[in-house]
């Protein structure tokens, strides 16, 4: 095993799909929701389908929540979709609920333009705001910059310095990639974003 990589086994998430993509880019990965397993991993991926509160409830029940909230600085963490939203200070999906507060911000429902529909589903572009993040290392952005989204809520960042990529949708824009030091978040699904998605996933695994 090259690296000690783990996907947190949230049953409502497409863990199988993420595992396949990780294997495809050449890494082994474990799937577990056991706290000891998670503590013993160098890179942890938190996937997410479902609601913020349901995912949080699962993490609290499994006694993982506190560990993730105080995630060690010498290890890497990647949240995908709701997994990224859980990094926030608060979410307003089902009333106010607090997240890990690893990256400051609030999760709120997207306000659409008149011709747009929710959920925001399909392929949309990611525009680079901060090109220095390693998660977008070696990616040449020109025409091929579409990734796959499937969500209705957006991570409104408190500090724009955490914004790596944004996506044109809604009244403002969608926060599509965030980073604060060793903590990363992707609003889209890299495991389902074809070649570009696999490249981004590989960048994380190569850290």
């Amino acid at each position: 095993m090259k690296e000690n990589i783990l996907i947190i086994d949230i049953p409502t998430s497409n863990v199988g799909s993420i595992k396949n993509a990780i294997n495809e880019v050449g890494f082994d990965v474990r799937i577990s929701s056991n706290l000891e397993d998670i503590k013993n991993s160098d890179k942890v991926i938190l996937p997410g389908h479902g609601t913020f509160s349901a995912a949080k409830k699962f993490l609290v029940e499994k006694k993982i929540f506190q560990y993730l909230k105080n995630y060690p600085k010498n290890k890497f963490f990647l949240g995908i979709c709701v997994g990224m939203q859980l990094l926030a200070t608060y979410s307003y999906e089902e009333g106010k609920d607090d997240g890990f507060d690893l990256i400051k911000g609030e999760v709120k429902k997207i306000t659409c333009k008149s011709h747009e529909k929710l959920p925001h589903i399909g392929w949309n572009q990611i525009d680079v705001v901060n090109k220095n993040s390693k998660i977008i290392n070696d990616i040449i952005f020109f025409e091929e910059n579409d990734v796959y989204f499937s969500h209705s809520y957006n991570f409104n960042l408190e500090n724009t310095e955490n914004l790596i990529c944004s996506t044109p949708f809604g009244q403002n824009y969608i926060t599509s990639i965030i980073q604060k030091e060793n903590i990363f978040g992707l609003q889209f699904h890299p495991e389902k974003s074809s070649f570009l998605g696999k490249k981004i996933l590989k960048n994380f695994l190569d850290l």
Binding site: G16, H49, P119, I121, K192, S193, F195, G197
Partner: protein, 250 residues
């Protein structure tokens, strides 16, 4: 900008893939695995796999086979056919499926959709509606087009939208497999009133049919099978055609 999507549909029956006309006269069109590999390599916008054997039976999906299919697919993978309970969905997700498609079971169990949304969020479930035009009315049919649900499509969509759904696949049985174009008449009538993400299906025979479908602003994606199976047209060919005509595709 959000792109318009082209999604191949694969109809899985017994050991292989089939395609028919008007939900009948099935012809074998190859094996499942090589098709999934090819489409994924060709970077399609998604893949819909419908097990059309299933709806007539009470078996669970074949998870082992599905797991193998998913190992070869790196674009959104939709699966439908005989899904009737939450445990099946957990198993499908574990084995690599991204989205589930529900159709027949929903007619008498709308609560199932509520249950799915509660567990997996409203961005997850896809409702599929097959319909025929009967005396100027668009009527829903279930069980592979065999059972008349005696319900108008627009009413059924309203009921589904009240609960919330990720996307709706609308398939015209009358146009299915004929490759003579989509049901534009219906799109004209109906799509204005739909708030959900909409995938139109049934009748695509050439890239220009997709161009016509995307003239209806509410159409987010088109699904197609026959033109990919029987003509030497690829999703990429369709996209190049659409791009040249200023449709926003990947």
């Amino acid at each position: 900008m959000l792109k318009k999507r082209i999604i191949p549909t694969l109809l899985w029956k017994q050991a292989g893939l089939v395609k028919g006309e008007k939900f009948d006269s099935w012809r074998n069109v190859g094996s499942v695995m090589p098709s999934i590999k090819l489409y994924s390599k060709r970077d399609v916008d998604g893949l819909i796999l419908l097990n059309i054997d299933k709806t007539n039976r009470d078996l669970d999906p074949n998870y082992n086979l599905i797991k193998e299919f998913c190992e070869n697919c790196f674009v959104p993978f939709y699966y439908g056919g005989g899904i009737t309970n939450i445990d099946q969905i957990y198993n499908l997700l574990k084995n690599g499926i991204d989205k589930i498609v529900i159709n027949s079971f929903l007619y008498n169990n709308l609560n199932f959709l509520r249950e799915i949304n509660l567990n997996f969020g409203t961005q997850f479930a896809v409702a599929s509606i097959d319909y025929k035009k009967i005396e100027d009315k668009y009527i829903c049919f279930s069980h592979n087009g065999k059972k008349n649900e005696e319900k108008e499509v627009s009413d059924w969509i309203n009921e589904i939208e009240k609960i919330g759904v990720s996307e709706i696949i609308l398939t015209s049985i009358d146009h299915d497999g004929l490759m003579k174009g989509f049901d534009y008449e219906f799109m004209e009538l109906l799509t204005k009133n739909i708030n959900s993400n909409l995938i139109m299906s049934g009748g695509a025979g050439k890239p220009d049919d997709m161009f016509k479908a995307f003239q209806y602003k509410n159409v987010d994606a088109v699904a197609a099978a026959s033109l990919f199976h029987f003509k030497e047209i690829t999703p990429r060919d369709c996209k190049l055609y659409l791009k040249a005509k200023k449709i926003n595709v990947r």
